[in-house]
Symmetry: C2
Subunit: 193 residues, 2 copies
DNA sequence: GACTTTTATGTACAATCGTACATAATAATA
DNA sequence: TATTATTATGTACGATTGTACATAAAAGTC
């Protein structure tokens, strides 16, 4: 694991064990936890880990680098086995919340009902991240209110004609009779098994 | 939203926007970020949010409580219009990261290649949350190494026979010749449009 | 109108922070 | 063996921390 001595590795494992993805507390607090008598012991380990980019600063707090924690993107190129895959070099860390902008105030979640979008792999019960918007572009997947009812469909806009298109041959296109109000555009979906 | 004034809510939204699930920095740092001239402005907002359990302490660092992170679930019962739906009472806040356990150390992400699972709505490019495990139950979706190659399939275990089942009629079942090593069980998927 | 709460700024201060520097025993290495 | 790196403890210090207290304009409430 990246040229750490035994003690350094023990120290790092203790950090992982106790703080995980959370911000690391003060040197003194870690000193107390690990039973050192001087916070400088901790500071010296910190310097080692910092130099090796195992811990890094963010908003003036220290964190264990994401490369050493959590949901790393598993590279399909890796063939050498699981262990090596987990301890390999720099991997991307992905947050679904971040990718689908869940913590923005203009984004909310819609739960799919029905099977009108199955051909696009959108199944009943799926969670859809919806970004609030009154406008959409051709082929965007939108949450819309057409003639009074909510629905998730592909938005079509062609030759000055506007309609909603399901992704299921068994359903017809929806041409708005009175009104078509777009509530938001889908950013992505999440499905829990 | 839990009896916050307009300003308090703006303050809180700014925190969410800037720090999300990370630890909050010092009062001074937030003061600078939000353009206040006294860190006490921030301290007073902090007191309000603390009292309402919107932010909480952990390892002597402050975090936004999990209950307030993530996006709100859009209730399909709401028919009265978009505005009211957005400003309603207590809503479920959903975090995809939390649901699919992305911040656990034994969970990683695998990117789907190929179309062997399309019938289950798992498409090429989808992100799959995989919980590390050597065992699986019948009908779990697993990431496995069969005869040397990685693949995402449905794990089948019936009458002492084990095989991997694709979700696409064009593909055959995979019966392990030499070895079948399960790497993990899929918890769910994310797709970004 | 009278009263209260909210919002914003400012000053003061003890406690704690991280860093720097020093010392020395131990472990690793050449 | 000689030399270097690691590990552990300690002291010192300026910077920063969060809290407390005070003031006052603005907004909200009765």
């Amino acid at each position: 694991m990246k040229d750490l001595t035994l003690k350094q590795n023990q120290f790092f494992e203790a950090l992982k064990e106790n703080y995980g993805k959370d911000a690391l507390p003060s040197l003194s607090a870690i000193k107390e936890l690990l039973g050192y008598k001087s916070k400088n012991s901790v500071a010296q380990y910190f310097n080692v880990l910092k130099k090796k980019n195992i811990i890094e600063e963010k908003n003036s707090r220290y964190y264990i680098s994401q490369d050493f924690l959590g949901a790393r993107l598993f590279s399909s190129k890796v063939r050498a086995g699981f262990a090596s895959a987990m301890e390999d070099e720099v991997e991307n860390l992905i947050s679904f919340d971040r990718e689908l902008e869940l913590n923005k105030t203009n984004v909310f979640i819609f739960r799919v009902s029905g099977d009108s979008m199955v051909d696009l792999g959108i199944f009943e019960g799926d969670y859809v991240s919806i970004k609030k918007s009154s406008y959409a572009q051709d082929k965007d997947i939108v949450l819309a209110n057409i003639d009074g009812g909510f629905t998730l469909k592909t938005y079509r806009n062609k030759n000055n004609k506007v309609w909603l298109e399901p992704a299921n041959k068994n359903y017809p296109n929806l041409y708005p009779r009175s009104s078509l109000v777009i509530f938001g555009v889908a950013l992505g979906i999440m499905r829990k098994f």
